[in-house]
């Protein structure tokens, strides 16, 4: 009975670890799809406009975005080598990473919000190896966890 109890505890621990690893894997799948979609979109856009966008108008990955209300006063101190910045805000702000922005741009085809259409699911599956297809289908159906 003691061994049975120990095995049951070990099983719950393993199930919890598997759930965490599956969540991390799904996040990586969304990243892979978003990155590939972004590269595809920019290639098509540059091909149709026959020129890369002006360098000052694009933001290269990796980046983060700090957003705050338009009335916020921002005070910024910069070290001479530009390797250290200190921002002071007189209001709240939010910080978002590039993956969050790509999701907001629809680059992960609505998979993260359960709004992936059948056509987009076909596109999503084409961007990842076959061995990961079942994960994408589960994410799209919202059955993953």
């Amino acid at each position: 009975a003691q061994e049975c109890q120990n095995l049951e505890v070990e099983k719950q621990k393993r199930l919890k670890r598997i759930r965490q690893k599956r969540t991390q894997l799904e996040e990586l799948i969304l990243q892979q799809i978003a990155f590939k979609n972004l590269v595809q979109r920019n290639k098509v856009s540059e091909t149709s406009s026959l020129a890369p966008p002006p360098s000052g108008s694009v933001i290269q990955l990796p980046f983060i975005i700090l957003n705050t209300d338009v009335r916020t006063v921002i005070d910024c101190s910069i070290s001479s080598d530009k390797c250290e910045y200190l921002f002071n805000f007189d209001n709240t702000f939010e910080i978002h990473d590039d993956i969050e922005i790509l999701k907001r741009m629809g680059m992960s085809l609505g998979l993260e919000s359960g709004k992936c259409t059948a056509d987009n699911l076909i596109v999503a599956k084409s961007l990842i190896p076959r061995s990961l297809e079942t994960y994408v289908i589960d994410i799209a159906r919202g059955t993953s966890q």
Partner: protein, 33 residues
């Protein structure tokens, strides 16, 4: 998020999970409560 000694939240670009930013945003929204 990992708290440094002076109770600051830290995040590494391309190194920390997005969840740490979620924690930071929540802390800021709550005014650091």
């Amino acid at each position: 998020s990992c708290l440094t000694p002076n109770s600051a939240y830290t995040y590494k670009i391309n190194g920390s999970p997005s969840k740490e930013l979620t924690d930071i945003n929540r802390m800021i929204r709550q005014g650091g409560v």
